[in-house]
């Protein structure tokens, strides 16, 4: 059988290649093999972990019993041992027993699960309220009690390393894909209500160490809570497919003592205010382009791509586009960044006049776009008033 031989040779070659791959990949040898769910940093996350382990043990025990019976049968009740098959084919008693026992096991799991769920559901008596809003592809956090809003984007070094064929080793990147430019800072020991919603498509807010995830749905506000017991940095990411940037919208929670938290709130408010007020300053082309590049990477690159070519049929190109090249369309260019268009979100709220001026200038003077146009913050301020 010639064909058989070919197939055999093919398979053995394949096995050799496969085992070589296994041995040659250095990661396999020294690795951090995370196996189990985190116990987390909150009382709830510990309870969730315990519930998970309980159900895992129950399943393992049932598995050992059932598979044990099966393998006993496979080894002892085989034709090659010369056994004669038995004739029995039903027993109502046995059927009733193996209906009732699983039922009892399930009830015994459902009772603690019900209690835990009721506790997770109770958002009353929260001291701090945060509203997390999902955008394609970043998170906005409103500190409701503090009148403070921050935006949280994927950290720039991760953006760069995550470009296709970037040549940057993700291992050398600080918390690759799990790091943001701005963390959600929260105090330890306080009951914090975290509401989730979204502005465009459905996202899901998930930090495993808090013990839950919850969808962020446009038009809905979902209610959740947490008390973080341990100071630290807790990382998570969006858990509901939300388009091409789904893998690129991490969540970083920084839990600090209350005093530090209050100081951070004041500091951040001041910093945001001064950023907004810098509107009258005139900047040079170089200053604008440097700043613009950073703004572009954090906000625009995911869709319009590093080379400004966009993705045909989905995201329009900026390189060579009339909007980014014709002088008389400068106001329209600014307007579109502030207010968005079709699938493009509005950036007017989260970006300062200086940021927008910088990114528009950058877009008009990079790749093949060589307009020489300089946009100043005051031009953007004028655009906002229209």
């Amino acid at each position: 059988m010639h064909l058989n031989k070919c197939m055999a040779r093919f398979l053995s070659n394949f096995a050799v290649i496969l085992s070589a791959l296994f041995l040659l990949s250095p990661d396999i040898l020294h690795a951090a093999w995370g196996l189990n769910m985190t116990q987390g940093a909150t009382p709830i996350s510990h309870d969730v972990y315990n519930m998970h382990m309980t159900s895992l043990y129950v399943c393992t025990a049932i598995g050992i019993l059932v598979f044990g019976m099966m393998f006993w049968s496979i080894f002892h009740h085989r034709k090659s041992k010369g056994v004669k098959p038995a004739k029995f084919s039903h027993s109502t008693t046995v059927e009733i027993i193996w209906t009732l026992i699983p039922f009892a096991i399930i009830v015994s799991l459902a009772i603690p699960a019900t209690k835990l769920l009721a506790r997770m559901d109770d958002t009353s008596k929260s001291e701090i309220t945060i509203k997390a809003t999902g955008y394609q592809w970043k998170w906005k956090y409103d500190y409701i009690n503090e009148d403070l809003t921050i935006y949280s984007n994927l950290a720039t070094d991760s953006v760069e390393a995550s470009q296709r064929d970037s040549g940057i080793d993700p291992k050398t990147t600080d918390n690759y894909l799990r790091n943001t430019d701005t963390a959600l800072v929260l105090p330890v020991g306080k009951k914090i209500r975290i509401m989730t919603t979204a502005s465009d498509v459905i996202h899901a807010w998930w930090v495993p160490d808090l013990g839950w995830k919850r969808d962020a749905i446009p038009g809905f506000i979902n209610d959740n809570w947490t008390i973080i017991n341990k100071e630290g940095i807790y990382r998570g990411q969006c858990a509901e497919i939300c388009g091409k940037g789904h893998g690129y919208m991490p969540i970083v929670v920084k839990a600090v003592p209350e005093k530090e938290y209050l100081a951070w709130v004041q500091e951040t408010k001041l910093a945001l205010k001064s950023k907004k007020d810098s509107g009258d300053k005139e900047l040079s082309m170089d200053e604008l382009k440097t700043k613009g590049e950073a703004v572009y990477k954090a906000n625009c690159l995911a869709c319009h791509q590093a080379n400004g070519q966009g993705i045909k049929g989905v995201f329009p190109a900026l390189d060579g586009s009339p909007l980014a090249n014709l002088k008389d369309r400068i106001p329209e260019h600014i307007h579109q960044v502030i207010y968005g268009k079709n699938n493009m979100p509005a950036f007017g709220e989260q970006l300062s006049d200086t940021d927008i001026a910088a990114v528009v200038t950058y877009e008009r003077n990079v790749w093949g776009n060589k307009t020489g146009d300089i946009i100043q913050p005051k031009d953007v301020a004028a655009g906002r008033k229209k």
Binding site: A32, F67, S73, R78, P85, A86, D165, D169, A204
Partner: protein, 531 residues
């Protein structure tokens, strides 16, 4: 030719040849074969998409595809595997085996049978054609959640109409199966003597008829939202994006049982044959299958525990979901009891069936864990879920289909397949599917979400193992094609009985069976079906 036809008192023996035999076929065996071949082709198309996914996930960083295309692969892989591979394979087996198993000459509605098959290639031409369109194939996940799915480009209407066509095809197939089983059973073939495969298929057919129109409604609402200004799912227009999820999963959960119930039937045929002992608890198997089917309409929201249901709703769906473990457990216990004190041999169909019992049960365990709402908040939308549904669908449904093909291939072709190669195929499949999917449990528990093209370095190691398992599993399946082709072309002659311990009408016919299975209805006695 006409002279030959005159020799018979009907024109049933009119056999077209060449391409016409297949295009205009009204013969249940030919249509069954076409379904199975189509399903195998789709299995490889969907499988090659899985290979792209696993290649991209082989290590952190973006190496081969863009995130948008990656999402398309995730989406189309699922649609192709569910609607193109597993469902048509089930219908193909039903076509081939149900008339033979109940002692009928053919299906009750042979022309409709032809149509329900020939819709499929056109539906998949629509769907797969989108891969070459501007803006790419649908990339919002096979669940088509709005508002994301509404951002699909030119592919959108193609996706919707492909789903419509697939639904029409499935409903016609289901009607045909119900009409056949209820009208064309041989004398003495009472309902409670039906082979379990036939029983599970009747129940599956009812699930199809009840759930497919719901899906059609949901996707039509998407279509009008996108093109006709309605706001069924648009919050800004007074609609509700979560409504879609409720409607979708009202279809979607019965759908997963549509995929697995025929597999239960197959396993219930194979284990008694190779244990040489009657199926334990026949009646309880039928009732358990029916209970699972009925319960499947009351558990849909366990796919959406994290959308923010009221706590009473979450509790109801948690209890209902956990309850499904009871009849499913009964089925597993019955299979084990069938093996108990039997006289087992381990030909390839039996090996796949035994692997099914173990691996499907593992998928069932993770399913029970996922059903516990407070813990599901951690598991949901992670690789733990990906591992779960691949255990029940790949090492569950697909393993059962493989078992069925090895089991009935000698009957269909008249030749024995190459047992040695088939056993190699089994062991490669069983080992590498576990290398592929078991580590994904760990990835999910460690915090890796599903449907991401790139990941944090802490997930690198298990992803690499999983990818290697995936490549090996994928390549091993070429062996399966080789074995099947070899068996079709020749091999040791198979007897009518084929397997020593096989019972039922299909084994009373020659291998291969005549073109029209039973032209005279056989007499079915209890002894024929029993040991």
């Amino acid at each position: 030719m006409s002279t030959i036809a005159h020799d018979h008192h009907d024109h049933h023996d009119h056999k077209p040849t060449g391409i016409k035999r297949w295009l205009f076929s009204t013969n249940h065996k030919d249509i069954g074969t076409m379904y199975l071949v189509f399903s195998l082709i789709m299995f490889f198309i969907g499988g090659s998409m899985a290979m792209i996914i696993r290649a991209e996930l082989f290590q952190p960083g973006l190496q081969f595809v863009d995130p948008q295309f990656y999402n398309s692969m995730v989406t189309v892989h699922a649609l192709v595997m569910i609607f193109g591979a597993v469902m048509p394979a089930g219908v193909g087996l039903a076509n081939w085996m149900i008339p033979i198993m109940i002692g009928a000459p053919d299906m009750a509605l042979p022309r409709m049978n032809n149509m329900s098959f020939w819709i499929l290639p056109f539906a998949f031409a629509l769907l797969l054609g989108t891969l070459f369109m501007e803006g790419g194939a649908p990339a919002g996940g096979w669940t088509m959640y709005p508002p994301l799915v509404l951002q699909t480009g030119k592919a959108f209407p193609f996706l919707i109409f492909a789903v419509h066509f697939l639904g029409v095809s499935s409903i016609m197939g289901a009607i045909n199966i119900i009409a056949t089983v209820f009208n064309m059973r041989a004398p003495g073939m009472t309902l409670m003597r039906l082979p379990l495969f036939v029983w599970t298929w009747i129940i599956t057919a009812f699930l199809l008829i009840a759930s497919m129109p719901v899906l059609a409604g949901a996707v039509t609402m998407l279509l009008t939202d996108k093109y006709f200004g309605t706001s069924f799912f648009n919050a800004a227009g007074g609609g509700d994006p979560v409504l879609f999820q409720h409607i979708f999963w009202f279809f979607g959960h019965p759908e997963v049982y549509i995929l697995i119930l025929p597999a239960f039937g197959i396993i219930s045929q194979i284990i008694p044959t190779f244990a040489r002992k009657p199926l334990f608890g026949y009646a309880s198997m039928v009732y358990a299958t029916a209970s699972i089917a009925i319960l499947s309409f009351f558990v849909w929201a366990h796919h959406m525990f994290t959308v923010g249901l009221p706590i009473n709703g979450e509790l109801f769906f948690m209890y209902a979901t956990m309850l499904i473990a009871v009849p499913t457990g009964v089925k597993v216990f019955n299979w084990v009891a069938t093996m108990w004190k039997g006289a087992m041999t381990f030909e390839t169909p039996m090996l796949f069936a035994l692997a099914f019992v173990i691996l499907f049960t593992i998928g069932g365990f993770s399913g029970l864990m996922l059903g516990i709402t407070p813990v599901d908040f951690q598991y949901h939308d992670t690789y733990f879920v990906v591992a779960h549904f691949h255990y029940v669908l790949l090492t569950g449904a697909v393993f059962a289909l493989m078992a069925a093909i090895y089991y009935w291939l000698p009957k269909w072709t008249g030749h024995m397949y190459d047992e040695k190669l088939a056993k190699i195929h089994f062991w490669l499949s069983a080992i590498f599917s576990n290398v592929l999917f078991f580590p994904q449990h760990f990835l999910g528990l460690a915090g890796m979400p599903r449907r991401i093209p790139d990941y944090s370095v802490q997930f690198a190691d298990f992803n690499m193992v999983s990818s290697l398992g995936g490549f090996a599993y994928g390549i091993s399946q070429l062996l399966f094609v080789y074995i099947v082709i070899k068996c079709v072309l020749g091999g040791k002659k198979a007897t009518g009985q084929v397997w020593e311990g096989a019972r039922g009408l299909e084994w009373t016919l020659s291998s291969p069976p005549p073109f029209h299975s039973f032209t005279k209805p056989p007499k079915v006695t209890k002894a024929l079906m029993d040991y």
